[in-house]
Amino acid sequence: MKVEQISVFLENKSGRLAEVTGVLADSDINIRALSLADTADFGILRLIVNDREKAKAVLKENGFTVGKTEVVAIEVPDRPGGLAGILGALRGGGINVEYMYAFVQKSGENAIIIFRFDEIDGAIDILQKAGVRILKGEEVYAL
């Protein structure tokens, strides 16, 4: 039910993002989803990749600070109110969303949203009860 996301610390200077993606490309690692959060001084790149152990290893070898976080990937119905219903259920359960990012599947009709919760197990519980489809890690890595 949980997906492993890797995160990379980046200083705000030109070319750093290109270097990360270059390192991954050189090792034949495929990026499934990504989001970049930034401040005036630094950024945090969050990635879901097909081979996370290898990705971590090559990024570290190249001098990046890499972290690992568990996130949840869910399928959101592609219609008005699809996301609102899910967030409403989470709010009812007192769960905070730290951040989220979305991407659309190649074939599917539904969007996939990656969530980082303050309380992941509680969140999964609520989502399951609400009948939301949660993607398994393997499904996401292989997308």
Binding site: S7, F9, L10, T39, I44, T69, R116
Partner: protein
């Protein structure tokens, strides 16, 4: 204008006779009252009665900031604490400050020396002295304050900061003498211009600036922008505070050391040998009249040279050139002494933070800006922005608590701070003074 005609114009021979008499008494006193000095002298095989002439001074061991730290807080006081009526402190090289104490007579001596210093700039009764040196543990504010009161001037105890209010008071109270750091004077000049005030309408006549290094170029700039005479003064809390040496308005070339209270030497910082006048080296002071906290051959880490030639003002005291650098890595940020080791100390106290850091100093207009770069390793890294921002705020807050100076903390990628063999390059100072 000379405050104390009798002492400030003593012929060299009489001055030296007075110095040796005071030096002998000092050495005898510290030997019998301060275990540290007794150990130092015993170690060097020196007895107090071997000090017969000024030439014998160089046989005594140096005192260093490290020695002060080892004897924290009161270990080098020669009198019991009940005779100490004031304590000041400046930043030490690590967590603990350097502590100095004053007896009633020391406070009087200090007021006399600051009166001389202010008189060097022509300050007299009737002047309105705008004292923007910081009040508190720092010696600048109170030191200058007592000297100005002794002269009988009207003192405004402004302390630092709150620039617009300073300028309003300058206008409304008719300040004639400005006391602050030279960079703050430039900052005041800029804000005066921004506020649309004509500087010619202020009554300021002279500025007596110290507590940080500056240059002739800065002097010209301040004089032009503020329409005042700008003078350089020198002091450090370990010796007494401000009032160790001062430029005179007549000469404006080198700072007169008040030699009836302090003996100045310039040494080779590597060998410790005393250098002849005119050669650049490390400035060393022996305080020959202080009671509570005298120092013998205290190494200031300031680099300068001594000028023995007579001065147009008539004072007989030797002059030191404007301080041109440091032998250690001390920085002066907005008038506050900052040692990189203090910042390291703060970083080491925060779990997970590695002691890989770099301090970038720059000047934005007239204000010093300090930025501390800290490498982000896996232990402190988070995938959440707010966690990293919390960390940088915490580092900045703890540095501010320790140093009293705010800084920007910048998180940087690992191994981006240059590692060097041996001593790491901790400081990049881009200020053009």
């Amino acid at each position: 204008m000379i405050w104390n005609e009798e002492f400030e114009t003593l012929p060299r021979e009489a001055l030296e006779a007075l110095q040796i008499k005071r030096l002998k008494a000092l050495v005898e006193r510290v030997y019998t009252t301060v275990p540290f000095y007794r150990r130092q002298m015993d170690g060097a095989g020196m007895r107090p009665d071997q000090i017969q002439g000024l030439d014998d001074l160089k046989r005594l061991p140096f005192t260093t900031k490290e020695n002060l730290r080892e004897n924290y807080p009161f270990g080098l006081f020669t009198v019991p604490l009940e005779r100490v009526i004031r304590i000041h402190a400046s930043s030490g090289t690590t967590g603990k400050p350097t502590v100095v104490g004053y007896t009633r007579r020391d406070i009087e001596t200090w007021a006399e020396l600051m009166a001389r210093t202010l008189a060097c700039g022509g300050t007299r009764q009737g002047d309105v002295v705008h004292n923007a040196y910081g009040y508190g543990l720092f010696t600048g504010g109170l030191g200058a304050h007592y000297g100005a009161e002794k002269i009988g001037a009207t003192v405004i105890p402004m302390s630092g900061g709150n620039t617009k209010r300073q300028i309003m008071i300058m206008q409304d109270f008719g300040s004639t003498v400005l006391l602050c750091t030279p960079s703050y004077a430039l900052n005041l000049a800029e804000v005066i211009a921004d506020m649309g005030i004509d500087v010619a309408e202020l009554k300021l006549r002279v500025g007596i600036f110290g507590a940080e290094p500056w240059s002739e170029k800065m002097r010209e700039e301040i004089e032009k922008k503020m329409l005042i005479s700008a003078l350089d003064i020198y002091g450090l809390s370990e010796v007494i505070g401000p009032g160790v040496a001062s430029e005179c308005i007549e000469g404006k070339k080198g700072l007169h050391v008040f030699e009836d209270h302090f003996i100045a030497e310039v040494i080779d910082p590597d060998t410790g040998d005393v250098l002849p006048h005119g050669e650049m080296g490390e400035l060393v002071f022996t305080t020959i009249t202080k009671e509570a906290f005298p120092v013998i051959r205290y190494r200031t880490s300031d680099i300068t040279t001594l000028i023995p030639d007579a001065c147009v003002c008539g004072r007989g005291f030797i002059r030191m050139e404007r301080v041109s650098g440091r032998t250690d890595d001390m920085l002066i940020i907005r008038g506050v002494n900052v040692f990189p080791s203090q910042i390291e100390h703060v970083l080491m106290g925060i779990e997970g933070v590695e002691p890989h850091y770099q301090i970038m100093v720059d000047r934005d207009g007239a204000l010093d800006i300090m930025e501390v770069h800290v490498e982000v390793n896996e232990e402190i890294f988070s995938d959440e922005i707010k966690e990293l921002e919390r960390l940088s705020r915490r580092i900045g807050g703890e540095i501010k608590d320790m140093l009293g100076v705010s800084c920007n903390v910048k998180l940087v990628e690992p191994r981006t701070i240059q590692r060097s063999e041996g001593k790491a390059k901790r400081v990049i100072d881009n200020r053009k003074i």
